[in-house]
């Protein structure tokens, strides 16, 4: 994986089954306060150059909005890595970039290609295949490119992506172009070698292990050179950065400028995930990750500069599925090898055409609702949390939600600003009340939570915590409903029925994904 963030978790069985739902990524989605941004989200269309929009609009990893309708999968064909990160322990799974650990299944290029075709034939929403690890794809160039070749020849409609630490990128840019890989992600955590030395203990390059500032200098030079080469060739490049408070948090603004000036079209700043049990350097030294509001403040401050991505779920490198579902068990290697796969691009096209109709309806609904906000003048901004399993609708039960999507509401409309995972908290070892507390901590900065359904007991507890449970928009479109609710909220404030107050901070879950 692009070597990025990596922490890892003590490996506990990670059955290959885990492939956490694809769910992960969602996009950059924002339309920014500053008028910038947003890949994919409704606004993206207006913010991005048309040729870029055309490339990213169905890409779940680049667009929050697209993630409601399309899925991506990763195949773990690239186990070797060529650098060491302090947030990664190679013996275990990586919580930050979701690198599967040593117990996870590795696939040969042939197995991987068959798996991709099997999944694509079964799940017509699957439009993107990524190789992100478990090591670095470009430290395993034969395996990575052989996989791309097999898929490119059989299913040219599937988009190919690659996520790398960038060390070997300049050597492979032309091969990347040859296989029509049009999306590359580079993990860039610094552009200052002094800071880099605190993040990367060593790199392996040209038959030598480099350490300290020298290692970081080589790495940053190679990363930026690779980025420039991609830009020259018209290959879209996203940059991932791990926000490490006290080490690179302030510096990431400079990173943002450096990558923007070299042509990166999207920047994804992710929180460090760090705990002693991950066995990583940062975990053992007690390096903390940022809070939800610290992360949002940094993302907001970079947003004037370029598109920010806020939907990244730091998913595992072997995830399969759509938002809110886990299809991994259907696609174990054993089952796939026994499967007859007939790749039918016509069925896929027909399905995707239907999806586009639904997406258009959603955009139209938001627009018409937004018009009713016209003329409202207020500086008030509030966050709301939404329980959804996709399609852009409020269609998940509060108690079943594994994550909440967070929207910022203002008179400019509803803007997707992130998501909060709560699945870990709800897993074993906690009673219902405890897990409700952890959900509240995860969405504590929100004024309301929108759900399809909610029980009486959590409803009361949420109300007491100052978070209004809203179930009257069940199954409706998210943004349209949010704007409608916000109008009511402003009306009540204006009439003096309620007093607007600012809410506190919230937690970002600190743990690796164990099972979906």
């Amino acid at each position: 994986m692009s070597y990025s963030p990596g922490i890892s978790l003590p490996v506990i069985q990670q059955p290959e089954a885990i492939m956490q739902q694809v769910a992960e990524h969602k996009g950059c989605g924002t339309h920014g306060g500053s008028g910038k941004a947003s890949c994919g989200s409704g606004a993206g269309q207006n913010d991005l150059a048309p040729e870029i929009w055309e490339k990213v609009k169905n890409h779940p990893c680049y667009s929050e909005e697209a993630h409601h309708h399309y899925a991506r999968m990763h195949v773990a064909v690239a186990p070797a890595c060529n650098i060491q990160c302090n947030y990664c322990n190679r013996k275990y799974d990586c919580a930050n970039e979701s690198r599967p650990g040593v117990v996870s299944e590795k696939l040969t290029p042939q197995q991987a290609a068959k798996k991709v075709l099997a999944v694509a034939s079964t799940i017509p929403q699957m439009t993107v295949l990524g190789i992100a690890g478990p090591g670095d794809p470009l430290a395993n160039p034969e395996k990575t490119f052989e996989t791309f070749r097999l898929i490119y020849e059989t299913a040219p409609d599937i988009k190919l992506c690659l996520s790398t630490n960038g060390l070997m990128l300049p050597d492979h840019v032309d091969t990347i172009k040859k296989f029509n890989v049009d999306h590359v992600t580079i993990t860039i955590n610094m552009v200052d070698p002094e800071i880099g030395a605190k993040i990367y203990p060593w790199i392996y390059w040209k038959h030598k292990r480099y350490t300290g500032v020298e290692a970081a200098r080589i790495l940053t030079e190679r990363q930026l050179q690779g980025l420039e080469m991609l830009t020259e060739r018209g290959i879209l490049c996203k940059v991932n950065s791990v926000m490490i408070p006290g080490i690179n948090d302030k510096h990431l603004v400079e990173v943002n400028r450096a990558v923007k000036s070299r042509g990166a079209f999207l920047h994804n700043i992710m929180p460090l995930i760090s705990a002693p049990e991950h066995g990583t350097v940062f975990g053992l030294t007690g390096q903390r990750g940022p809070s939800a509001q610290e992360l949002k403040a940094l993302q907001d401050s970079c947003e004037g500069e370029m598109n920010m991505m806020r939907h990244c779920r730091q998913c595992r490198a072997d995830a399969v599925g759509l938002l809110g579902e886990d299809r991994s068990a259907e696609f174990s290697t054993e089952k796939i090898m026994a499967m007859e796969v007939n790749y039918d691009s016509e069925t896929r096209k027909a399905y995707q055409a239907k999806v586009e109709v639904e997406r258009d309806a959603k955009v139209a609904a938001r627009q018409s609702e937004l018009e009713t906000l016209a003329g409202e003048m207020s500086d008030i901004k509030v966050l709301i949390a939404v329980a959804t399993k996709g399609s852009g609708r409020i269609n998940e039960h509060f108690g079943h939600a594994k994550e909440f999507q967070v929207y910022e509401l203002s008179t400019a409309g509803a803007k997707f600003v992130g998501h909060r995972r709560v699945d870990l908290y709800c897993q074993g070892g906690f009673g219902d009340e405890d897990s409700l507390d952890t959900v509240i901590r995860a969405i504590n900065d929100c004024h309301a939570v929108f759900v399809a359904k909610i029980g009486g007991c959590p409803k009361d507890t949420l109300g007491k915590a100052g978070i209004e449970p809203v179930d009257r928009y069940a199954l409706e479109f998210i943004e349209q409903s949010a704007i409608s609710w916000f109008k009511d909220y402003l009306d009540k404030v204006n009439r003096g029925e309620i007093e607007h107050s600012v809410r506190g901070d919230a937690d970002i879950r600190q743990g690796a994904f164990i099972a979906a």
């Binding site: 186990p79 070797a80 190679r90 013996k91 040593v102 090591g135 392996y204 030598k208 292990r209």
Partner: protein
């Protein structure tokens, strides 16, 4: 005359396999092993043993004390 891989440490990531100038490393029983007859400790090829330099887990590729150290012939 050789390095060896501590199998309990090896993550089987395969990083070492293509780096070995002697093609002495191969997969066996779920991890990788070094053929001591082929290993030259990278003497004459590189400044440092490549398996050690690339391995992500410290103390995984170590000198095998059960065989004599490699002597360069040239």
């Amino acid at each position: 005359m050789a390095y060896k891989i501590v199998s309990s440490q090896c993550t089987s990531c395969s990083a070492c396999e293509p780096e070995c100038p002697n093609v002495a490393i191969y997969p066996k029983n779920g991890t990788f092993v070094i053929n001591p007859k082929k290993c030259t400790e990278c003497i004459g090829h590189f400044d440092e043993p490549q398996c050690v330099a690339v391995c992500p887990v410290d103390l995984t590729c170590i000198v095998d004390t059960s065989v004599p150290r490699y002597q360069a012939t040239a």
